[in-house]
Amino acid sequence: MGLEARELKIGYGEKVAIKNASLKIDYGEIVSIIGPNGSGKSTLIKALSGYLKPKKGEVLLDGCNIKGIGGRDLAKKIAVLPQFKSSPDDISVETLVSYGRHPHLGFGKRLMKEDLDIMEWALEKTGLIDFKDRNILTLSGGEAQRAWIAMALTQKASILMLDEPNTYLDISYQMEVLELVKDLNQSLDLTVVMVLHDLNQAARYSDKIYVLMDGMICKYGKPKNVIQSDLLRDVFRIEADVFEDSVNSCPYFIPNKIV
């Protein structure tokens, strides 16, 4: 069981961003979607999360089409961290994290003890318990992303989707986010789907990689089967040497020249 996409065709108006894509994501996996800019990565993940409706095809969660699942129920199963978010100047970390409980709140919209406990747990898991009263704008890039992830955690969803979580972050923060994601996956069995820009990062942190090009999935599988020189040449237009990272049991490459 898990999340499945069948022959998705997705577009904006006349423009078609994804021509035909099928995926299968099992519970407990970390899946990365990679590809050059314009290949349709963001579009694909937006369809998987239910934000965009596909023109053709369907997205199934445990066999049910997510189109038929109400917004709030879907939010309890899938949590999303979009690429673009805005936040008011003076929101505290704790307040931001509390929003994750929204799908669970009753009509009165009051936070019950259970909600507060979950929030505390999420803050601990993301290492932000000491930051809970801090203004979100005073946090570093990595800390802020962790706060958003903490918010997603309180949704108590089984799947977490991240759209380019590391773009614009300093490398140490990038690692911070990815290590957290890995830890959550291992300790909570959290399924993760993420769009990544950095191919080496995808190789290191994923169980499965889907490669997009021109709106179609051209290759998928385990990192060692996907990150190979011919793919790098054909899809990413670089000549590279691929090596094995024995410490992390994953491939990594060093680019040599542009094709």
């Binding site: 917004g71 999303v80 979009p82 978010k85 919209k109 958003w148």
Partner: protein
């Protein structure tokens, strides 16, 4: 201001609004001491003083309170929903729709002058729906809505000017509507606007979270289970009803919907859980106080309250703005 706990701030605002109520009730063209006022209300019901207190000053104070609440609340809602600090009821066409309808009635059908309040209200709502419809393109992007609002407002404004050009002798009755004011307020006006205030305030005690989440962006909101289109539509209609009912009773008052939410934001922060009560307390107090000034400064001549609001309110806001360094309101943060 931040050192003051938000809850304490709310308590202070509650005290201020209560004080404003008494200031408004205690002052007017006819001077009466507080003791005399209470005495009149209790024991002298058949005097002209009673008429003044009960049928002139009281409804006027109440309407000032309600209008202040409605307009500032509408502004706060819109600034959140549109994610734009310059949003105000006039952006969704309330002023334009109400103004044009009022003008059409006053100028072309002057015999139906008594239909102006209800007409203005309907006009406001229709204008909002028109703008919404024009901006719709498989959903509403706030920017499109704002642009459509600007276009419709200027179109209606041109309509107003055309009416005034072709019927110049009927214009004078219209000016007082356009400037906005609380003279000749009676209990009927209270009944006109009251229900919307109650509904609005009631609803808004359950909806602050939804507003907060909407300000985080459409994707985040959808991810948290909110149907963004429906939610936005509901809030805009609520804002239109709140503002429309206010404008239909007192005419076009621009300052309240735009500036009061910002004043509240500076004092109490952007979290709608506090911003909503803060804004409505602030709006109600300000309007009651400014109206009191407007009708007592050159008593018994009354100045339109809009003038007082601009002269006193704007500098106050600027002062607060300077005290707090940096800008405020929502802004996009790339994370």
């Amino acid at each position: 201001m931040k050192c003051l706990n938000k809850n304490s701030m709310l308590i202070i605002l509650i005290l201020i609004i209560i004080a404003s109520f008494f200031i408004s009730m205690g002052n007017g063209a006819v001077k009466m001491s507080p003791l005399k006022i209470i005495n009149t209300l209790l024991y002298e019901r058949d005097t002209s003083n009673f008429q003044i207190i009960w049928n002139v000053r009281l409804p006027r104070t109440i309407v000032a309170l309600l209008v202040g609440i409605n307009l500032s609340l509408a502004g706060a809602i819109l600034q959140g929903v549109m994610r734009n600090p310059l949003a105000s009821p006039s952006i969704i066409g309330v002023s334009a729709g109400a103004g044009l309808t009022a003008l059409i009635i006053l100028i072309i059908f002057p015999n139906y002058y008594f239909l102006v309040p209800i007409g203005a209200f309907i006009g406001a709502l229709l204008a909002t729906l028109l703008i919404y419809f024009l901006a719709w393109n498989a959903g509403i992007m706030p920017t499109r809505l704002i642009l459509a609002g600007v276009a419709v407002s200027s179109l209606f404004g041109a309509g107003n000017n055309a009416l005034m050009t072709f019927y110049p002798d009927r214009v004078s009755g219209v000016i007082s509507f356009m400037v906005g004011g609380l003279s000749a307020i009676n209990w009927q006006d209270v009944r006109m606007i009251g229900p919307y205030t109650l509904v609005g305030v009631f609803l808004l005690f359950f909806l602050p979270n939804e507003l907060n989440i909407l300000t985080l962006g459409d994707e985040v909101a959808k991810g948290l289970g909110i149907n963004v289109e429906i939610s936005r539509f509901r809030f805009i209609i609520l804002a239109s009803l709140l503002a429309g009912s206010a404008v239909s009773v007192v005419g076009l008052l621009g300052f309240v919907g735009l500036i009061v939410p910002h004043i509240a934001r500076i004092i109490i922060g952007s979290d709608y859980k506090y911003l909503i009560p803060g804004t409505l307390l602030m709006g109600g107090s300000m309007l009651m106080i400014f109206d009191t000034i407007a009708r007592t400064l050159f008593s018994p001549t009354e100045i339109p309250v809009g003038i007082i609001m601009s002269i006193l309110g704007a500098p106050f806001f600027l002062y607060l703005l300077r005290k707090r360094r940096g800008s405020h309101g929502t802004r996009s943060k790339r994370t």
